[in-house]
């Protein structure tokens, strides 16, 4: 073995040594639970005695796939994800563009806008639940006083409204996150590029469409990816607002119901695995699209 080879080997060993703590942590908190979950999804184990199980093949997966409640949850989740992430992106971009301009008190506004994001989701949900209450809520009181409605609207009870209420609260809570990520992207665009365009007579709208938007796209894309993955596994908001109401039930709530409420470890694990696979596929698709953009845009 030559000296160079020995040195190479030494470096490789050092690299692995540095990676070791991370690998251990990953195995402990991600790979091991995930494997256990997938393992249990092929069994008929119950939560009270998980050691007592028998293999049932893919029966659990079929049961979940044949359950209309599961598909209702998938539909709710996808609807919630598309609409809320869409709104958050549009709002986030608009607010980020405003905050990107220099104005007096910008620092304070930037800090203030973070408040909704800093609050725990459970707290935000409860606040809005009270504000939207059909009898005592501030919002309904306002609407009635202004003469917009005759009596309070049951935002959190009306089956046709409740999913929109969930979307509204989510938009309120997570738009600041979008704003910050997009703002960071906007600030990476050098000012002189705009000045160059301005001097050469490029109008405002064209500067936005052909410079700001394409150059902010990577930041917007990453922000959307984060938010989409977050929204797909949403649990807390729906659960606090309406527990296992079918109108707002998400995939995560469905899995939790099987596992905790019905104590069915096998079925719950299969549902979780389904959720994992659906989110995984969507994540891969989004990352693929982002890569594609970077290559051609």
């Amino acid at each position: 073995m030559s000296a160079a080879e020995r040195m190479q080997r030494q470096q490789n060993r050092t690299a692995w040594l540095f990676l070791l703590p991370l690998i251990i942590a990953l195995v402990g908190v991600a790979i091991w639970p995930l494997t256990r979950s997938i393992f249990f999804s092929f069994t008929d184990a119950f939560l009270d005695a998980p050691a007592n199980y028998g293999f049932v093949g893919i029966d659990n997966f079929i049961t979940v796939a044949e359950d209309p409640v599961f598909w209702r949850a998938v539909k709710n989740t996808l609807f919630f994800t598309v609409i809320s992430v869409g709104l958050e992106t549009l709002l986030g971009l608009a607010i980020a563009l405003l905050l990107h301009r220099a104005f007096v008190g910008r620092g304070i506004v930037r800090a203030a806008i973070l408040v909704p994001w800093a609050m725990p989701m459970v707290v935000s949900t409860r606040i809005w639940e009270w504000m939207l209450n059909d009898q005592f809520g501030l919002i309904n009181k306002l609407f009635v006083t202004l003469g917009l409605v005759e009596k309070g609207i049951a935002w959190t009870a009306e089956p046709t409204l409740i999913l929109y209420t969930v979307i509204f609260i989510d938009v309120w809570v997570t738009t600041p996150f979008m704003v910050l990520l997009i703002l960071a992207g906007l600030q990476l665009i050098p000012e002189e590029i705009y000045e160059a365009a301005e001097v050469s007579g490029v109008p405002h709208w064209k500067r936005f469409w052909s410079i700001t938007l394409p150059l902010a796209t990577p930041a917007i894309g990453v922000a959307m990816l984060f938010r989409t993955l977050d929204a797909l596994r949403m649990f807390d908001l729906s659960y606090v607002l309406a527990a296992n109401n079918e109108n707002t039930m998400t995939m995560s709530i469905y899995a939790r119901d099987q596992l905790i409420s019905f104590q069915d470890l096998g079925l719950g694990s299969a549902a979780s695995t389904w959720v994992f696979m659906i989110i995984g596929l969507i994540a891969i698709a989004i990352v693929g699209v982002l890569r594609l953009d970077r290559a051609t845009g």
């Binding site: 050098p190 000045e195 365009a197 001097v199 109008p203 052909s210």
Partner: protein, 369 residues
């Protein structure tokens, strides 16, 4: 093409005055260079002309028309930035044509113009590349191409060559001169590099602390600087200065550090307080030479084609001597004389302004010393 006129233009950022009441006329087709030390306001002045920064006071005219309140996008100018400011997500061709997309030009006309500009700047083979795939010099060519294609009234350059290495800078300098010869458009060029200023300019504006120190042709500024600042700014190494000994000097007879002696007939009643001699106007001679300024040899820098010697005249004063040919064989600490010709002597008054003097008189009295 157009002339540019500034009338009493001032700019303050908060309480900080960057530009103080500047009056300037730049003729149609002229190559004007703004030069000055960093922080003198030269870039701000260029931005005021471009309309990227609004003036605090005064008026800007382009082609005789008042444009003080006209936005940058409507002034018909082109701006070349030090950072090039290319659009990173567009290829070279689109970088050049981008501003034309909204200018109501036909596709064929746009293509024709891009091709013409690309040929002129020798970047035709780069049209499909992205800015990040280009070298610094190529990027600067694209930036110039982007400025050219709009057929502007006036070109504004903000230190366009500062990010290039020395060789490339020289090459691009030459190209810019050629470009100006070809298009004959008014060009305003900001630099801190006096070589660029001297070689490019029809006229130079020397700025200091937001004020114009002097405007003139390069040779004029070099030979007849209006004041001590201009004299010290142009030339490398810079002009040597020394205070005059007020007590020992009388009207017409000047004495100073290093045995400096000079009898001059001064224009008017002005009393010089300082002398200046350029490094290339001095010659190393033996310490005993009559009329020479005395000092001790400190060190020598041999640059091959020329050499620079440092001579200490007093505790606080070191003068430089620049010459070509074989470097002299002085050793450190050795007494040495600095020979000089009276016509190369500059005199400065208390307020820093240069004082005209008749050096013919000095020849006779210098000989009698």
């Amino acid at each position: 093409m157009a002339s540019v006129t500034l009338k009493n233009v001032s700019k303050a950022f908060g309480a900080y005055d960057v530009i103080r009441s500047i009056n300037l006329e730049i003729e149609d087709g002229e190559f004007m260079v703004f030069v000055g030390p960093s922080g003198c306001g030269k870039s701000t002045l260029l931005r005021l002309i471009a309309g990227l920064v609004p003036v605090s006071e005064g008026d800007v005219f382009i082609g005789g028309e008042q444009v003080t309140d006209v936005p940058a996008s409507k002034r018909g100018l082109a701006f070349v930035f030090q950072s090039y400011a290319l659009y990173p997500h567009m290829n070279v061709s689109r970088n050049i044509s981008f501003a034309l997309e909204t200018a109501r030009l036909g596709k064929d006309e746009i293509r024709r113009r891009v091709t013409k500009v690309a040929e002129m700047l020798k970047i035709s083979h780069l049209l499909d590349r992205r800015p990040r795939q280009l070298s610094g010099g190529q990027r600067q060519r694209v930036a110039i191409g982007r400025a050219l294609v709009g057929e502007p009234e006036v070109f504004l350059f903000d230190e366009p060559l500062s990010n290039l290495d020395a060789d490339l800078r020289m090459e691009m300098r030459f190209e810019i001169v050629k470009l100006h010869g070809d298009v004959k458009t008014t060009m305003i060029y900001v630099t801190h590099d006096q070589t660029e200023a001297m070689t490019l300019a029809d006229r130079i504006v020397i700025l200091n602390q937001g004020r114009i120190e002097q405007v003139g042709r390069p040779r004029e500024l070099y030979d007849r600087p209006a004041n001590r600042f201009v004299a010290g700014f142009l030339g490398s190494p810079r002009m040597n200065f020394a205070p005059l000994d007020r007590a020992a000097s009388s009207a017409g007879v000047l004495r100073g550090v290093g045995g400096f002696y000079h009898a001059a007939e001064l224009a008017g009643a002005e009393n010089p307080t300082e002398i200046g001699l350029r490094p290339e106007a001095l010659k190393l001679v033996s310490a005993e030479t009559k009329g020479a300024i005395c000092g001790t040899f400190e060190r020598m820098e041999d640059l091959g084609y020329e050499y620079v010697c440092y001579v200490r005249l007093s505790e606080t004063l070191v003068w430089t001597v620049r010459s070509t040919g074989r470097p002299p064989a002085f050793t450190e600490g050795q007494p040495v004389g600095l020979g000089w010709q009276p016509e190369s002597l500059y005199l400065f008054g208390e307020d820093g302004r240069r004082i005209d003097h008749d050096s013919a008189v000095q020849l006779a009295s210098g000989a009698s010393l």
